[in-house]
């Protein structure tokens, strides 16, 4: 099965084309989604088989790699050109096997869910085509054995994200948000681009397995180069995974359909950055500086995003900030050497975050608003949604035995081993997470209905939307424990850090309990503020600390910074164009033309006034002379002519005589 893993990205890709070109744009045509869902189901099955084979050690050699030639091109080595092959292929290692399952599963569930959520949309078929396309790109990114192909899929993922965020492009906000998302990630991609160039310059290959071998060979990769490459990749990852300072696009990306948010902006695409860092971990292993940068970027992001989530009222934005924050956790873990921890959290997070988004979608579908201030008391109206989302919230908060507990615990343990200040800050972020997540639950589901109209019309979603929720809730409960059991996950992804990076400062045994206790306290605090149907405390706090609140609501001004950056680049562009049209074109080129013309005019003038006049003058002179002479000879008198001849002859005579 694993040798046919190329089918996993290829099939959805073909299906997306088929849907796009061969299906009618009919709002109620069921075939397009069914085709997409069936394909995804097949992919899921295949991924599960691969996962099973990988975990049972049935794949030899491991990690499995299959490679074909994509094209060959002219390359150089020491000033000599030669023909180099660019491979395209699959590389299935533990991380890839896990990611395959995660992506196909979430994609499948989201597609099923969308049957209900997107029902009746005029561009229903296109939606499924995009979803398939996205999934294909994401799967390609996961399985590719070639960084160039990975990058290609990386960009394609970005484009499908662009298309899906802007799916309701008639509204200005999604159109703007899609552009913003694309541009921000593209900004990060520039770094990745340079990193790729550096990799080629250093290694002369893009094949990941080969890079890993070369990087381990002493002397190939200098620390400086490794740092540069690592920072470049981090730059790309920060863009795609919405890390500080490029996280600004993700909250806006919530303008897209909610299932899309669940799939792309929670579970899969935003995880691509983390996944890429994990894939190129051998480079970070060679550069402590890059490693540290990864950790700190993750930490800062986790903290900032968590604080921003505290004040958001838009249910999807809360989730978006929480996503950013959780991605920060993962990155931080990777930066601290917690390869397994990062990927583990990536996996569990995918389940419960997708669940949260889908649940939020269910809520929005029901009350037709994103604003939590207009919700409240929905738990009775939507029990299934409430139940599943509550499970997910417990998971994200890290309560035993939910999935989040295990992964978060693993991260904190690892960070503790790395740097205890970091640990403190990260734990604080975890407490904040619990706080704002429960704030969301309380505001949405608990207490009185604040908007009676909406509450009255609210209803539980259809089962086609609910059973994906249930499945994800189940996974949110068990996946952590199951995967963590006996170090199963660690064994599966199985990355061996170089000796120097293995910091074996084991965390105190009590740490998990302490953290859990703190989280419970945080939840209680949250209930204290928001769970009692009485928001006076929250309001007064808000009034007292309004500067802090407004800073948080303005997302620390990062949006403003980026807007000013955009404005600045616009100004530069305007200037460049002014320079181009006024200085270069009008001044130099046209000016040169003008000078030429002036010269031409001058020389024309000179010609007219001087040269021509001179010529005319000679003409006139000879004419005058002619007139004069004619006055001598125009009498028609033969004898006069004869006289002239005679005079001439006599003059000649004089001439001769005078010699």
């Amino acid at each position: 099965m694993v040798e046919h893993a190329y089918l996993i990205p290829l099939l959805p890709f073909l299906v997306s084309l088929v849907i796009l070109f061969f299906f009618d744009e009919d709002a109620h045509s069921p075939y397009a989604p069914y085709l997409g869902i069936a394909t995804m189901f097949w992919c899921l099955v295949q991924s599960l088989v691969i996962f099973h084979q990988a975990s049972s050690g049935a794949v030899h050699p491991w990690p499995y790699e299959g490679s074909w030639e994509w094209f060959s091109f002219a390359a150089d080595s020491a000033g000599k050109g030669f023909s180099a092959a660019m491979p395209i292929g699959i590389l299935i290692d533990g991380a890839a096997a896990v990611m395959l399952v995660v992506v196909t599963l979430v994609s499948l569930l989201v597609q099923v869910y969308s049957l209900g959520y997107m029902h009746g949309d005029p561009r229903f078929k296109r939606y499924y085509a995009y979803l398939s396309f996205f999934t294909a790109s994401m799967l390609g990114l996961v399985v590719s054995n070639n960084l160039l192909v990975t990058f290609a899929c990386w960009e394609l993922v970005g484009v499908s994200s662009y298309l899906l965020i802007g799916f309701w492009f008639e509204k200005p906000a999604p159109a703007y948000a899609s552009k913003k998302a694309f541009m921000t990630t593209k900004l990060g991609d520039c770094g990745l681009y340079v990193a790729l160039l550096l990799i080629w310059a250093k290694f002369g290959s893009f094949k990941i397995s080969m890079l890993a071998v070369s990087a381990a060979t002493p002397g190939v990769l200098t620390p400086l180069a490794a740092t540069a490459i690592g920072l470049g990749i981090l730059c790309g990852a920060a863009g795609k995974s919405a890390q500080w300072p490029l996280f600004i696009w993700l909250p806006d990306a919530m303008e897209g359909p909610t299932p899309v948010s669940a799939l792309i902006h929670a579970a899969t695409m935003v995880a691509a950055g983390i996944y890429l860092v994990a894939k190129t971990y051998f480079i970070y292993a060679a550069s402590p500086v890059a490693m540290e940068a990864v950790a700190w970027i993750g930490l800062i992001t986790a903290l900032l995003a968590a604080t921003m989530a505290l004040v958001a009222y838009d249910i999807k934005r809360v989730l978006a900030f929480s996503t950013v924050s959780q991605l920060g956790f993962m990155l931080c873990a990777l930066g601290c050497g917690g390869y397994t921890a990062g990927l583990f959290h990536l996996t569990t997070h995918a389940f419960f975050k997708a669940l949260l988004f889908l649940g939020a979608g269910s809520v929005i579908h029901s009350v037709h608003t994103n604003d939590m201030r207009q919700m409240g008391g929905l738990s009775k109206k939507m029990p299934v949604t409430f139940g599943t989302m509550f499970v997910a919230t417990l998971a994200i908060a890290g309560i035993w035995p939910f999935a989040g507990y295990f992964s978060k615990d693993m991260i904190l343990e690892r960070v503790y081993g790395h740097n205890q200040v970091m640990f403190g800050l990260l734990t604080f972020a975890a407490l904040l997470t619990a706080f704002y997540m429960f704030r969301m639950i309380f505001l949405t589901f608990v207490g009185d209905d604040r908007d009676h109209e909406r509450h009255h019309h609210a209803h539980e979603s259809p089962w086609v939307m609910l059973w994906p929720l249930c499945l994800l809730a189940f996974l949110s409960v068990v996946s952590g424990a199951a995967l963590a059991h006996n170090g199963f996950f660690e064994h599966l992804v199985n990355y061996k850090l170089p000796e120097g990076l293995m910091t074996e400062t084991l965390a105190p045994r009590l740490m998990p309990y302490a953290v859990t206790a703190l989280v419970c306290g945080s939840i209680a605090l949250s209930w204290f503020f928001y769970g009692r149907n009485d928001f006076t405390l929250a309001e007064s706090l808000k009034a007292r600390c309004s500067p802090i609140f407004s800073v948080l609501e303005n997302r620390y001004g990062f949006d403003a910074i980026f807007l000013s950056l955009v404005a600045f680049s616009d100004r530069i562009a305007k200037f460049a164009f002014w320079f181009d049209s006024s200085v270069i074109d009008q001044f130099f080129v046209d000016g040169w033309g003008l000078i030429t013309r002036i010269c031409a005019e001058l020389s024309g003038l000179f010609d007219n006034l001087f040269v021509d006049r001179t010529v005319d003058g000679f003409g006139g002179l000879s004419m005058d002379a002619g007139v004069l002479l004619r006055s001598l000879v125009t009498h028609g008198q033969v004898q006069e002519y004869l006289m002239y001849i005679a005079v001439a002859v006599s003059l000649f005579t004089i001439l001769i005589l005078s010699r």
């Binding site: 030639e69 994509w70 094209f71 060959s72 091109f73 002219a74 390359a75 150089d76 000033g79 000599k80 050109g81 030669f82 023909s83 160039l148 990058f151 290609a152 899929c153 990386w154 960009e155 394609l156 484009v159 802007g166 492009f169 008639e170 509204k171 200005p172 999604p174 159109a175 703007y176 899609s178 552009k179 694309f182 541009m183 593209k186 900004l187 520039c190 681009y193 340079v194 790729l196 160039l197 550096l198 080629w200 310059a201 680049s569 616009d570 530069i572 562009a573 305007k574 460049a576 164009f577 002014w578 181009d580 049209s581 270069i584 074109d585 130099f588 080129v589 033309g593």
Partner: protein, 486 residues
């Protein structure tokens, strides 16, 4: 069979036939033009079929005396550097002719000039004799002048004369350089292949001077900063099909000349200029993209994006690496295809709305989904999206340049960002957002427009997904060029 001669002169034959047809016979004129250009394309496909990809040297050579007293030959040939460009020329010309079927006035002259133009362009890429090269080079100039000057926009006369004078100024220097090369070669010759071996006798000083002469001619055509300002004007004023040819083929003549003549004949001059060249390339990329960002006219924006994209070609060349060369040639092809389709697409909207102002539209994706889809594809290809043609060539250019010029290449990456910025902004303003009801009467693309654009789109995707068969044509020649001892 002198197949290259046939390819080159079939359009001329078509042009002569058109000349004999009466003015009113519009259909026969159009058919003649299409048939002759189409035959030329088919023949160039035959050349591709017979082309030996493992052979780096000239193939399908033809040689005959032309002006024996001056050692001028009629010599044609193609190798991996020129064949893709010949193919591009014949291919794009057919499509441009299809899109020109919408031309309503002075059809006879239009198609006549167009075919003459095609012959000139093909000839430039095939010529192996400097005089022949120069003749073909100049042969493109006059048709272009008329095509812009007669069928152009409101400022067509100015644009045409500016284009003409500017490029002519460049070619005068080129002519000087050609003569200098001729008189300093032993034995005196115009044969480009023979001249490749002459540089051992030439001093660095001489090579630099000659290089500058050639460069001036080529840089204007490319167009390299700061000689690029004729381009936006000419593009804006030219009719759609002419813009397509201008961007897709004419600009390539400059880069081709740089690679074939400047690099091949004047290694010392080239080496001396390599630093300025990389700077110019960087400026072209970043500055071109910035200028494009400031545009409100779609066509002008695409024109400046051409400046930006030709910068990638220069970047690739300046690396002096096989990869960079590969990228440059590939970039020429992909830019021809992508920008060709972009211009065609802009022409489509202009034909309907009679405006190209970006802010005049809005939400068109609802009304014209096919058009929007093709435009999106072309824009994404142009901004270098992987899977579409632009990416691989751009990447090779960077890859090639990066090996020699790390900082400049890294700075140039910003150009990629700016390119994305202006294309996305254009797409947002034109196709997304609330629908502007002013355009409720807009119709989607008709069959003729589809016929001219879809082949380009297909090529865009095909080259992006499977660039192998384009890369294989040029690969060996470029490796040979790099490996030739200099």
């Amino acid at each position: 069979m002198p197949i290259l001669t046939l390819i080159t002169f079939l359009p001329i034959a078509g042009a002569l036939v058109i000349l004999c047809l009466p003015k009113e016979a519009e259909k026969p004129i159009q058919i003649t033009a299409l048939v002759s250009a189409g035959l030329s394309f088919v023949l160039s496909l035959c050349v591709l079929y017979g082309f030996d990809r493992a052979q780096p040297l000239m193939q399908f050579m033809e040689n005959a005396d032309w002006i024996p007293s001056m050692h001028v030959h009629y010599a044609l040939g193609v190798d991996g550097l020129s064949l893709p460009l010949v193919l591009l020329t014949t291919f794009v010309t057919v499509l441009a002719l299809i899109s020109s079927l919408g031309i309503k006035e002075r059809i006879k002259e239009y198609f006549f000039w167009f075919l003459v133009l095609e012959a000139g362009m093909i000839g430039v890429f095939e010529a192996l004799d400097l005089v022949l090269f120069y003749v073909f080079w100049e042969m493109t100039l006059v048709p272009m002048y008329f095509l812009i000057g007669i069928w152009g926009g409101p400022k067509k006369e100015f644009a045409a004369i500016k284009f003409f004078l500017y490029t002519l100024a460049g070619s005068v220097f080129m002519l000087l350089a050609i003569l200098a090369v001729y008189f300093n070669s032993t034995p005196n010759t115009f044969d480009m292949l023979a001249l490749m071996h002459q540089h051992v006798n030439w001093s660095a000083r001489f090579q630099i001077l000659v290089f500058l002469g050639f460069y001036f001619g080529f840089a204007i055509k490319i167009p390299a900063f700061p000689f690029h300002t004729w381009l936006p004007l000419a593009h804006v004023e030219a009719p759609t099909a002419v813009s397509v040819i201008l961007a897709a083929v004419l600009l390539k003549m400059g880069v081709y000349g740089l690679m074939r003549i400047s690099y091949g004949m004047l290694p010392l001059g080239f080496a001396w200029f390599i630093k300025p060249l990389i700077i110019i390339a960087t400026i072209n990329i970043v500055y071109g993209a910035l200028c494009a960002m400031a545009q409100t006219d779609m066509k002008k924006m695409v024109a400046y994006s051409s400046v930006n994209h030709m910068g990638y070609c220069l970047l690739g060349i300046a690396g002096l690496t096989a990869t960079g060369f590969q990228g440059a040639v590939m970039q020429m092809i992909t830019h021809g295809i992508i920008t060709g389709s972009l211009f065609l697409l802009v022409g489509v909207i202009y034909d309907r709305a009679h405006t190209r102002d970006i802010s005049a539209f809005g939400g068109l994706a609802v009304r014209v989904p096919t058009y929007a889809g093709l435009m999106f594809l072309a824009c994404f290809a142009s901004l270098g999206l992987p899977g579409l043609a632009g990416f691989i060539s751009e990447f090779f250019c960077f890859l090639g340049a990066f090996q020699a010029w790390k900082v400049y290449a890294a700075v140039s990456v910003l150009g990629v960002l700016a390119t994305a910025a202006f294309f996305l902004r254009m797409m947002e303003k034109v196709f997304l957002g609330p629908f502007n009801n002013k355009w409720a009467g807009l119709t989607d693309m008709n069959a003729r427009e589809l016929a001219s654009i879809v082949p380009l789109t297909v090529m865009t995707v095909a080259l992006g997904v499977y660039p192998k068969w384009a890369l294989d044509i040029m690969k060996e020649t470029l490796i040979y060029m790099i490996n030739t001892p200099r």
